[in-house]
Amino acid sequence: MTYFADVGALARKDLLLELRSRDTLPAMLLFVVSTLVVFNFSLPADTGDLAAYGLLWVAIVFTAILGLTRAFAAEREQRVLDGLVLAPCDRSAIWLGKGIAVVAFLALAEVVALPAFALFFEPVTWELVAAVALADVGLAAVGTLLAAMAAASRARELLLPLLFLPLVIPVVVGGVGASIGDDPGRYLAFLGLYDLIFAILSWASFEYVVTE
């Protein structure tokens, strides 16, 4: 139970930081809505719904990158990560706490993005909502680990997308498949499996990422 108390304290801290600084969430909201607006005007009028769903997933992935780029900014600025790493708690609690905050930011961005998508393109189905929820977990699991790795590098803004995008291709495949495929359950199960595998891998490897 102590482990989850640590995770709760760390996640609460991240939400409080965002509430105070408002650095990340407003940028994510603006980005995802403006991307959908641009797609609305750039797609030819006779384009089918298949392209629209694909573009929604592009917008979600790039919105996640925007949020993840800032995920460890507060820790980096004052070397606070050193302080957290020295604490006697399990270091994976830092990853899980940060990951929960990233999921919360993504979910809030999508609360705005999905109605905007429905307004500009196609109606939002329950399969799409389920796929987005599952995708958020996978994006946050992988992205938080990579954001911690990138935070230690000078080229972090470049490094994060380069590492992140190839690893989340399965999320896009699963998300698009669940949105437009004949058998969305199969793609939702695929997203769930991705979440499970990458959450375990990220949880287990975070300690090695934040220590030498």
Partner: protein
């Protein structure tokens, strides 16, 4: 009992060798002064002892558990957007400090930050940030204290508070103290290490 033992300890960053061939034995309740010019490796040595860096040469053994080390770095290692109280509460939870609120209140009073406890750290002066960093370092009553230039940024009153704290800790806790001003705490030291 030896708390820190180093044999041929070295640390390089790429091609640059910052620390080389350090032999060191620090016994329990010793206060070791680490002196030397800028770039001589004082901060690197403390980071190695804290476990934040790994040696690239030699061996280093620190027998104190991670949770019983207090590390004061150049930066205060606190969140600028949070208040002093919120920062210490977070660290208190992570370090499982018993009677956390009382301990935090006592440290904030002692270091003259009680009145500013709810203000964001970003509004603190350099000296206030250093006082807060000292509160964070002492919060969990560590057995081993690694203090990197603890007087940096402190005004006279703050420096006197730190003098009193070090006098109280000397002989009770193990301390490694990196400083440019060895005269200030020289009387309390049980040994010194001069880095070139």
């Amino acid at each position: 009992m030896v708390v820190i033992a180093a044999r041929g300890l070295g640390r390089s960053f790429g091609e640059k060798r910052v620390l080389r061939d350090i032999d060191l034995d620090v016994a329990e309740r010793d206060l070791l002064l680490v002196t030397g010019p800028n770039g001589s490796g004082k901060s690197t040595l403390l980071s190695l002892c804290a476990g934040l860096l790994a040696p690239t040469a030699g061996e280093l053994e620190v027998t104190v558990d991670r949770g019983r080390i207090g590390y004061l770095a150049h930066e205060p290692l606190v969140y600028r957007e949070l208040s002093a109280l919120e920062n210490l509460d977070l660290y208190g939870r992570l370090y499982r400090v018993p009677e956390r609120r009382e301990r935090i209140g006592m440290l904030l009073e002692r270091f003259g930050l009680w009145e500013s406890r709810r203000s964001p750290v970003s509004s603190f002066s350099r000296g206030m940030q250093q006082r807060l960093a000292l509160c964070r370092t002492l919060l969990h009553d560590p057995a081993l204290l690694l203090l990197d230039e603890p007087y940096a940024g402190l005004d006279d009153a703050g420096a006197e508070l730190l003098d009193a704290e070090l006098r109280a800790l000397a002989g009770r806790r193990t301390l490694l103290l990196a400083t440019h001003d060895p005269d200030r705490v020289g009387r309390l030291a049980t040994g010194s290490l001069a880095l070139a």
